[in-house]
């Protein structure tokens, strides 16, 4: 079934490239990825491995088990709406067809990584997964210099960091530890080296701070369906690899590694959301929120590692399942938000927050679905983001309860960081909802709701958000079973776990909806005639409307010492009369400015010096070669090598 699905994707991809069969191709791709997804969820439900098992040999082996199934299922869940969306979003021009056709190999590469059972095909898929989105962006934005620069940054950073993936996978294969955690002793230096290199390599691809620089550059410039796949699935596949290495293929890791993972998670969660709050471009804001949510998932993984080291196996499995549940949830609502943003951009022609407005009334279907997605990512009950954030909070609290004093305190600090992250996400998405969906339109252009396929895609994802919010327990119970140690899985619709007050998600939803409806009915509809909003008798003119920068000003002032925002006001006056006031302000990205810019400068400086070695004369190169041979011979002579 899986093979059939993947074949259909491939055929669809080829057909998409041809003008006459563009729509058929997209439809075939959607069918294929749908079948793949169903096969994935089936494998997850069955819980048994099919196909080959893991091998350390460099021969091609493919197979599926529960964990691979979950990520294949997520690929299907996001891929189908993204493709249905692109059937109208992409124009059947040469460029649109090329982008549409490249989606097929991109999805195949993602499936390859999760189905690979040997190091060779895993690393091959990993590289493809990095290169294909770069190709898509280059094609879609061929005429923009800045886009090309961003793609270069993306490739440079992911390849430098990606070296970590190669090292850790090759070390694993050398030790014979792929699929066999017993091959490496717990607490050995080799185990730590593998874990740290995996954290660097796969963390770069997943976009954890401080290795995230490529993410807020690359995600916003991709076409909406590709952004949805990148944010929804690609960075999740990197987390899949991380979970494989840290949880599946290792015994209990030393405590400091668990605390390190926790620290990285907390930094990504808080850092991602703080910088997201100050963005004025919708897609860039969403990209930074991906860093935040990856941080939340990594917090869950860190909690799992610490709890496992302390032998609290039940809660270790719960923490892992919390991370996996948030992975699925984030894939769904982030894809929804990226597709919604794509629809708004198509309708209004801009994604600058201060130029949208009133989309809920102008595009009721897309707008309502976007509202659901915004509430879900803000972690509000009764939607899916709330359930998995609650689980992660519980996991961190149990780190404090079972993790001993040092890790316990780390767990408590991470707990506070996650609580603050959730509140910051609420702040950020109140701003987004207010500026994009509500109020009067900030730019008067004729807008009508998106065409039916685009609308259907976002509404479908919104429904998934609601269903996963009402019955997270059904998926959670299956995910608990994915831990390599056996744990009794709870089987409830809500989340009833020992040691917690339980989260009856359906009950909370029912109470909230019933009470709200009753209160609306009780209020009746006696209202005075419409009047303009009250502003001390002032006229409300568009220039006086609140902006994104205004709403976040209190936070900017409070965090001034940390963020060092820049602002500039210049007033041009003539004969004592003010002619023009111009204001500009932005929050610089500290990690970019303080860490990467000096590194990039040093690298360029080093390259400039190194260039002198490349004189271009053959004699010089021969001299280099002879020198190298002499050094090697000398080294062999004194016994350093050989």
């Amino acid at each position: 079934m899986l093979v059939a699905g993947l074949t259909v994707i491939a055929v669809g991809g080829v057909l998409t490239a041809v003008l006459r069969t563009f729509l058929t191709g997209i439809a075939l791709q959607a069918t294929g990825v749908g079948i793949t997804g169903i096969a994935g969820f089936w494998a997850l439900g069955a819980g048994t491995a099919t196909g080959d098992g893991f091998t350390n040999a460099f021969e091609l082996h493919f197979g599926v088990d529960g964990l691979s199934g979950l990520f294949l299922g997520t690929l299907g869940l996001i891929g189908v709406p993204a493709l249905v969306f692109s059937s109208r979003y992409l124009q059947p021009t040469v460029r649109g067809r090329a982008v549409g056709a490249l989606i097929a190999p991109f999805m195949l590469a993602l499936a390859l990584v999760v189905c690979a059972r040997d190091p060779l095909s895993f690393l091959f898929g990993w590289e493809l997964m990095t290169l294909l989105p770069a190709a898509v962006i280059i094609i879609a934005r061929a005429d923009e210099r800045r886009a090309r620069r961003s793609v270069f940054t993306y490739l440079a950073v992911t390849h430098l960091g990606g070296a970590g993936t190669w090292i850790s996978v090759l070390l694993l294969a050398k030790a014979g530890a792929i699929g066999n955690p017993a091959a490496i002793g717990s607490g050995s230096g080799l185990q730590a080296a593998i874990a740290v290199t995996a954290l660097v390599g796969m963390g770069t691809k997943a976009g954890v701070m401080p290795l995230h620089v490529w993410l807020p550059r690359a995600h916003p410039i991709a076409p909406a369906p590709v952004s949805a796949l990148m944010s929804g699935v690609m960075i999740k596949v990197a987390l899949y690899a991380l979970i494989r290495v840290l949880v599946d293929w290792s015994g209990p890791l030393p405590l400091w590694l668990g605390v390190l993972v926790l620290a990285i998670g907390a930094l990504s969660a808080l850092g991602g959301v703080v910088y997201a709050v100050f963005q004025h471009d919708l897609k860039r804001l969403l990209a930074l929120h991906s860093i935040e949510n990856v941080g939340i998932i990594v917090l869950g993984i860190g909690a799992c590692l610490i709890l496992r080291e302390h032998g609290a196996d039940t809660w270790a499995a719960f923490a892992l399942a919390a991370a996996l549940l948030h992975t699925v949830n984030h894939a769904v609502f982030k894809a929804l938000l990226f597709l919604g943003a794509g629809a708004f951009e198509r309708a209004v022609g801009s994604l600058e927050l201060d130029r949208l407005g009133g989309m809920l009334r102008r595009m009721p279907w897309t707008g309502a679905a976007f509202l659901v997605g915004a509430m879900a990512i803000a972690g509000l009950p009764p939607l899916n983001g709330f359930a998995s954030e609650w689980l992660t909070l519980q996991a961190l609290l149990h780190v404090s309860a079972y993790g001993g004093s040092a890790a316990g305190l780390a767990g408590a600090i991470a707990l506070a960081a996650l609580a603050a992250t959730a509140a910051l996400a609420v702040l950020c998405f109140v701003k987004v909802v207010g500026l994009v969906l509500l109020g009067p339109p900030r730019r008067e252009v004729a807008v009508e709701d998106a065409p039916v396929p685009m609308r259907g895609a976002v509404v479908f994802l919104a429904l998934v958000c609601i269903v996963l919010g009402l019955a997270p327990g059904l998926l959670f119970g299956v995910l608990v079973g994915l831990a390599p140690w056996s744990t009794a899985a709870p089987t409830h619709v809500g989340l009833h776990l020992s040691g917690t007050g339980s989260l009856p998600t359906a009950g909370i939803a029912a109470v909230l909806v019933a009470l709200s409806a009753a209160l609306v009915l009780l209020r009746g509809n006696r209202r005075a005639a419409p009047a303009p909003t009250w502003a001390c008798g002032q006229m409300i003119v568009p220039a006086l409307r609140w902006t994104s920068a205004g709403f976040t000003k209190p936070l900017r002032l409070m965090l001034e010492t940390v963020l060092r925002p820049q602002r500039e006001i210049s007033i041009r006056a003539q004969d004592g009369v003010v002619q023009e006031v111009s204001y500009s302000g932005h929050v610089p990205h500290l990690i970019d400015d303080r860490v990467y810019r000096p590194i990039a400068r040093l690298a360029l400086l080093g390259a400039a010096h190194a260039r002198r070695l490349q004189s271009g004369s053959v004699g010089m190169y021969l001299a280099y070669l002879i020198g190298l041979v002499i050094i090697l011979l000398a080294a062999a002579r004194i016994g350093m090598i050989g």
Partner: protein
Amino acid sequence: MTAQTAAAGAVQLGGLALAPLLPGLVQHWKARLQGRRGPTPLQPYRELRRLWRKSGVTVEGASAVYNVAPAVVAASAAAAVLLIPPATHAPNWGVGHDALALAGLLALARFALGAASWDVGNGFSLIGASRDLTISVFVEATLILSLAVAALVAGTTDLRGIVAGTSGTGVWSTPTLALGAFAFALVVVAETGRQPVDSPDTHLELTMIHEGPLLEYAGRDQAYLQWAAAARHWIVLVLGAQIFLPHLANAWWQLAVLPAALSALCAALAVTETFVAKMRILLVPRLLAVAMIVALLGIGTHLVSP
């Protein structure tokens, strides 16, 4: 269902009705402390009655979000009241009794009110909403940490279990809960919108935090929002009384002493408001940062204690 559970359920329903009495009491005592006669404790009910008779207003260009927000705010406050057990026993109204779920319900109310402010586009509402949401970042972290202190002592995040696990008159004899109580006290002040974080008596729009987003509402909508503000007093004060104040282990005694404990906490709020001035809003995070550090210290003392 035991008699204790039924009685606790009755107290919860009573809490829905009696919540406005709490801010009434604070205002009454505050006036007395300041040498004024002041309104009776029943003043909030009079205001609710007056508002209930008035018609609502429609703002030009506002969408359904503006219309539904007050009901959502009141519904999430009511759900939170039903989530808080007033004793070690409480009926399950369908929302469970989890301490961390409480934060989600409070966040939902803030989201609804903030979105409504954007919907009408009123600058004063938005000033209030942006400040409220900004301060809530620090409040939520402190709330979760102080509840975590109690949860670690009790070994569960079930609030009924926490009430049972912290019972006894020796609550303050261990540093853990005493530090947690200090942190939670600042959460109470911030969440109820009282000095030094916010001034509930202000009539100057530019200084408003919690009152700001209420400006555009009238009639029954406004009544819902004012009731929800009173319900927030109930939520945090009942938690404070049954977790961080000394309380007995027996559920009957817990219910019997609750009115006295709530009155004492209201009096404490009145005294604080009389002696402490409102602080600059930009300094509020420092105050709450102190509370967070204190709560972390509390967790630390728990972790190192044998």
